[in-house]
Amino acid sequence: MPLALSARLSLKRFTKGEAAQHTAIKLNHRRIFVLPNKAGLTLAIIILLMLVASINYNNSMGFVFTFLLAAAAQASAFYCFKNLSGLVVSLTKTPNYYAGSTGYINLDIKETGERQRWAIHAAHLNQLKTFDIAKDLLLSIKIPIKLKHRGWYTPSTITLSTSFPFGLFRAWSPLLFKQPILVYPQAIDMGLPLNFQLFSKEQNKLQSQQLGTDDFAGLKPYQQGHNYRHINWKAFAAEKGLFSNEFNAEQSASIWLDWQSCQPLALEEKISQLCFWVLQCESQGLEYGLRLPNIELAPSHGAAHQHACLKKLALFEPI
């Protein structure tokens, strides 16, 4: 994808990176910049001093080694560039995190040839990871991120940089990815009772028992994602394999997690409370539905349903 002249010359390209992309990015000469760093400039002064001494004493071997050092320093700029170029960088899917926790950006770095790379730093905001790629063809780097708010979290510029081999030049490549991470709301129990009366603590037990005995509908083979509380341990102990108890869906009561029931709370508190309830209901194996202003999710359960609920909560914007 060629760049327009204005984009090519914009300062942002050097610091923030080119326009965000949701595919893998291959580091090439357009994306890698090389400049001498502080240590490189210091060496330049040393080389200058060596040159002055050589000129002053008109010393041939002094000249030879001064120029050799300068040439080696110069050559190191190529190696610095080579250390980054050709890497293919992509963001991979991350599990969804909850606001307030520390999440990770998963960076996949792929060496398409079989070159060895040394001491590459991957930086995102204030976090820095240093790694070598020694014959591994694919390397996953996890960069921790502080997730403060629910909603879409867009990673800011990820900068790959290296000062290899001599620490005189810094080659860097700022990368922007268009792969936002969904951040669920923080689950906080604000102490509100669920409007569904069954859900006070003692009755909860009662309810479970009722569900466990009366509404038992049969067994079905265990699948990942089934609530472990529903595993039929008797069958398992009898070495019949793993089975889940199936309950009659129509008979089990469904709970509505309702925005209205959180009325006394502030907006974010409401969402946190609802989020807490979603997680609680899911772990209890209950069927639950979600009612938000203008949004309604029919009662259900399972990982997909939980994700749908949490996503609605994460992205909820009051009108």
Binding site: I46, M61, G62, F63, A75, Q116, G167
Partner: protein
Amino acid sequence: MLIKPNLIKLLIAIGVLLIVPHIASLPTSFILIAFTLLVWRALTLWIPKTLPNKWLLLPLAIGLGFFVLKTYGMSLGRDASSSLLILLMGLKLLESRTARDAQAVIYMSFFILITPFLFEQQITIALYALFIFYLLLLALVINNTQSESLINPPLLRLSGFVLLQSLPLMLIFFVLFPRMVGPLWAMPDEQSAISGISNTINPGSVSNLALSDETAFRVRFNSPAPPQKDLYWRGPVFWETNGQSWTLTPPKQDSFKQATPLAEKKSDIHYTLMMEPHHQFWLYALDIPASAPKTARLTHDHQLVLANKLSRNISFDIRSTTQEVITKLSDNDLKRALKVPDNIDPRTFALANSWVKTSPDKSAIVKRALLFFNNEFYYTLKPPSLGKNPVAKFLFETKRGFCGHFATSFATLMRIAGIPTRLIGGYQGGVYNKVGDFYNIRQADAHVWTEVWLADKGWLRVDPTAAIAPNRIEHSIDPSLQRINSDINFLLNPPEGIHEWIQQIKWGINSFDYYWQNAVLAYGPEKQLNFLSGFGILDWVDMVKWLAILSVLTLIIFLSVILIRQNQTHDPVQKAYLAFCKKYAKKFGVHLPHETATDYFNRAIKNYPEKTEQLKTLKTLYLNTRYGKAAEQVFIQGVKHFKL
């Protein structure tokens, strides 16, 4: 980032290697302190408690700084800066705790690397320094990677590659970087060991040199070489004596004005003379120099005088003549050449006067005197010491001596006899190197002879040593065979058998050294202009221009090699697949990073159900090339023929 323990070990080793070439040239106290600092740092590796803190290091640094100041004074010359640098390197290493400190130590080491060359520039030291240079590059790499081990083959290889890769650019700069004449600032007068003839001659001074195999200068003749016995290499001319020693008075302006250079056709011998730095103002030339080379001036008594002391290797193209040149003798020079010191022994007077009385003319006196030496004297390297009146004691008591004894006493006798005489210091002979086709004139060839002025012949060379020991003039002294208090050995017979081989090897090494000196070390402002004018590069503007062009060209070549090698894709199937994805990105949507090939094709089929068959075939083909055993070409052809 903390400094790596293994890197400290490497830096200590480099430090030791850097100090070793200085052992001979710097005061022992500094060498010992520098070694102590390194040993101390090594100790801290095993006993971390001994690592000094800054409250100990700071006074130590100040103290050592004062020590250097006290030894050398305020001037920051070659010796002072070398001493200071090796101490600072040790101190910095003691203080180093982080990778950044290590970087600073490495930088200092690079500077220290060139300091031995201010003392000596032999090829052995250059190769030694090249090895240290490689180690320093390795230290830089280790310091800037996560490698804990020093022996990491890819990194060892990389340091070597960088070194090799920097050679072309270094050569371009070495040849084309404009050299300047003269120092940028006045350097303090360093106490370099003056080798060879000094500016005072006393009877015994030359015999000390006879044991030295060191090269004084080398000569390559561009015209037929004169016979060995005519190889008198003329240096300083001595007029003044106090009876004990002869001292050189620097030539005055008049002397340069009265000089009479000869026309080119009258000078029959052309040669290139490659001087080793001897830290003196004069140059040596085959007797008699016809004219001065570019950077030197000719005096009326045929000395070649430089503007500055010679502190580096320079080669000179000189013309000389072996024909007699008749010169006039001014009244002033007559007075100088006849001045007899006051404290001459009466016996000396009596001897000279007896010759005057019995000889018909002045040339007869000279002959008489030579006969006198020939009859009664003995040529030896270790003559007995002479007292306050060396001439008389030598002539009448010891009668054993070296060329210095003969020349000084002969000159004194001639002056008493009323013949104007001067003393010439220089070298005689030289060893011909068959391998390199040049004469190697060694310190052992140092010689002193005289010139007398006869009215009809002008200044005439008289070498009393030749009268006593003709062998000395026909053959060179062999320093390797000299024994104290024994006969002098000459290089008489060509060696045989294994000795011949040894000689061949010696010649080979010496020739290599000659080329090294001539091509590399002597490459200064004069030689650079001379060399580059052959390519049409005439001044420094041209040099800078070509320097820029050639270095940019080199960089472009390196860069294009890197870019070409990087763009080579290795896997044809992957190449075709990616090209396919790129081509249909707008229609099927971009290939997402988390998508597998199956996902991608399924998505494409969903978008274009009418192409289901073809897409399915492509998918299967692709998966089979990846995971099964399908022919790569089939998939590539399939991709080629696919059309929407």
